[in-house]
């Protein structure tokens, strides 16, 4: 079985996928096209291909994750790779092994692809310098989460047909969000108009210089938006006095029907998960037909298959 020739033959010269930064518009579009093919495959009865037959993929997660890890696992398996999941608990970090020691150890097991999530920004890049295989960033601190941005873009494109010119409002904890950073980079590269909406305590310093319009009011920030992208608010943020309380946050920044009414009538509601219902999003809004949150999860598998295929082209054959 072979996927459409034009989708498979786009140029993707990178050995690793460490972030959206550094990807060209054509490369992003190429990955999205390839993901469309993977979506078709995933909806068939026979979902297996053999692109990665004989290859070993290691999921190395220094931070807990359900959906990203399982999504990479499925993507790898559908492409025929042997997949191993490694959750590096905090205890083994406390034993004193450094990230680089872990990388060197894993490298000795000769994986072909390494999917890494780590709580420190830049950790995945550091690790990529110490191993011989292709490395995919599955989230590094508050820095980047490139496959999330790709799956968001794929979801948007499938509904709207294009990304250029759309008004996208990214709402919530911008300060700590790698999803926000990757999405800002990707959506700007594809010509969307990106807004960020958050209380000033959750906005990163200098964020306006990343090419976004900054709003501190949902009622203003959502006006005429095509896409409303919500971010998760972690409960620790209350403890560190970034927001006063859950109910105040929901009142001003939680997505309910009243605020959503400011956006275009056909606006899509998105959330990278896991959701805090009643904190950043009203439960009914999350389950509304306007919400594409479940479809985002499906696109997650497709995008990760596409990324694995694109990187696999650069794996040595001998």
């Amino acid at each position: 079985m072979s996927i459409a020739a034009e989708a498979s033959n786009f140029s993707f010269p990178h050995r690793h996928l460490l972030g959206i930064e550094g990807l060209s518009r054509a490369e992003i579009t190429g990955l999205l096209d390839l993901s469309e093919e993977a979506t078709k495959l995933s909806r068939q009865i026979d979902k297996k291909r053999d692109d990665l037959r004989g290859r070993t993929l290691i999921n190395l997660f220094f931070e807990a994750s359900t959906r990203t890890q399982s999504s990479f696992e499925l993507a790898g398996k559908r492409l025929g790779a042997d997949v191993m999941n490694m959750s590096v608990s905090n205890s083994s970090v406390q034993k004193g092994e450094t990230l680089i020691d872990t990388a060197v150890t894993l490298n000795a097991m000769r994986p072909d692809l390494l999917v890494v999530r780590h709580h420190a920004a830049g950790a995945v890049q550091l690790l990529s310098q110490k191993v011989d295989c292709s490395v995919i960033n599955a989230g590094d601190g508050s820095h980047e989460h490139p496959t999330q941005a790709l799956l968001d873009a794929l979801t948007i494109r499938r509904h709207k047909g294009h990304i250029e010119g759309l008004v996208v409002a990214i709402c919530g904890d911008i300060l700590h969000s790698r999803v926000a950073r990757s999405n800002i980079l990707l959506l700007n590269a594809l010509g969307a108009r990106v807004r960020v909406v958050a209380p000033s305590t959750l906005l990163a310093s200098g964020i306006e210089r990343l090419g976004v319009e900054v709003y501190t009011s949902m009622w203003e920030g959502l006006v005429d938006a095509d896409i409303v992208m919500m971010l998760r608010l972690q409960r620790e943020r209350m403890a560190s006095s970034l927001v006063p309380s859950q109910r105040e946050y929901f009142h001003f920044f939680g997505l309910d029907y009243e605020k959503l009414a400011r956006a275009k009538p056909d606006a899509l509601v998105m959330h990278p998960g896991p959701m805090n219902r009643g904190v950043e999003i009203d439960s009914n809004v999350a389950d509304d037909p306007q919400s594409v949150i479940r479809e985002q999860v499906e696109m997650g598998v497709a995008v990760r298959m596409a990324v694995l295929q694109a990187l696999a082209r650069h794996l040595p054959n001998q």
């Binding site: 450094t98 780590h118 420190a120 920004a121 830049g122 890049q125 550091l126 950073r181 200098g206 990343l210």
Partner: protein
Amino acid sequence: MNAPTTKQRSTSRPIALVNARLIDPASGLDQLGGLLIVEDRIADLGRHIAAGSLRDAEVVDCGGRVLAPGIIDMMVSAGEPGLEHRETLATASRAAAAGGVTTIVCMPNTEPVIDDVALVDFILRRARDTALVNIHPMAAMTKGLLGQEMTEIGLLRDAGAIAFNNGKTSVANAKVMRNVLAYAKDFGALIVHHLEDPTLGQDGVMNEGEVATRLGLRGVPAAAETIMLERDIRLVELTGGRYHAAQISCRTSLDIIRTAKLMGLPVTCGVSINHLTLNENDIGPYRTFFKMKPPLRSEDDRRAMVEGVASGDIDVIVSAHDPRGAEGKRRPFAEAADGAVGLETLLGAALRLYHNGEVELSRLLRALTANPARLLTLNSGRLAKSAPADLVLIELNTPWVVEPERLCSKSKNTPFDGARLEGRAVLTLVAGRPVYNYAD
């Protein structure tokens, strides 16, 4: 170890350094001439010291190079006691000698902390027995550097502590700081303070702003420094204690210092060579050798630091020498150790400001020699009769490339890795005795 000791120079022939460009920043002297060393002191200097004029002396022709007082570096982490895997007094002193530094002031944030008379004595004895250059310990101003209880400032000073400092943390408690400043004043002791509000700087690992946001790293706002500096200056106003801001890093701090000086307060400040020559953009893809406290700031802040040295509002340039091994630096940025070595690159990097035409040579050297000597009430740091013969001969135009593996320091964490510098120490003398010769 076999390193020559500096303090017990035996009676030997006088040395005449002739055909030199003598620069004494303390007096403004800048002229061709010679300098005569007898024993460990400068016996005479001037145009009349020339090759043929002295019968007994060993004559060294300086070839027109700059002869200046040896550098006095007010901020060096020298590893002893407890951190000898990173540096020792011996290795730090070799690095110093190679960099034209003849006196180093070492930091008290060792293991254990230098907050006791016995530890001051330990440093002085270890220095006497192992070091090539003069070493003066700073003692902790609060016990264990915890910012709670004052140390025995009087006894520590009598034992040889040259100044008092709280390591790389600020004393957050204003009342403790007030008491330290007031009490130290009675002994004429200098308080050297690191500036970072511990709560505002808490999560930060680099300068706050666009670059940090792009890298997904938490920032330290400049306000963490300026709030602490403002507070300290109000306390100096209240107590009259002698106060030196260890390192400033941003334009607003420079403005605060200028205002304090205009008010006539006993306030001075330093800046690290890193903050004069590097900025936050140098971090690039998470390069941990550029991680330091205070963090590298914006290019505008760097320019302000250079202006501050040029105008004399910034009194002192330090290396902020802080050796760190691979175990501390080969980590994700947020988890990596702060600090950079700097003794050997201090002069060469500082000369960039001179070669760029940003700071006059004499002004630059003053911040490296006469000013720290004045603050620390040392006799050195000047070319004058009967001053210690702590000297550096500087070749202003020698280009050289910083090669970490060739550094004398035990740790190689230099942000100038591979940098091209112009100008360096070619001969360093401590108490009249050569401790470094580039030609060797």
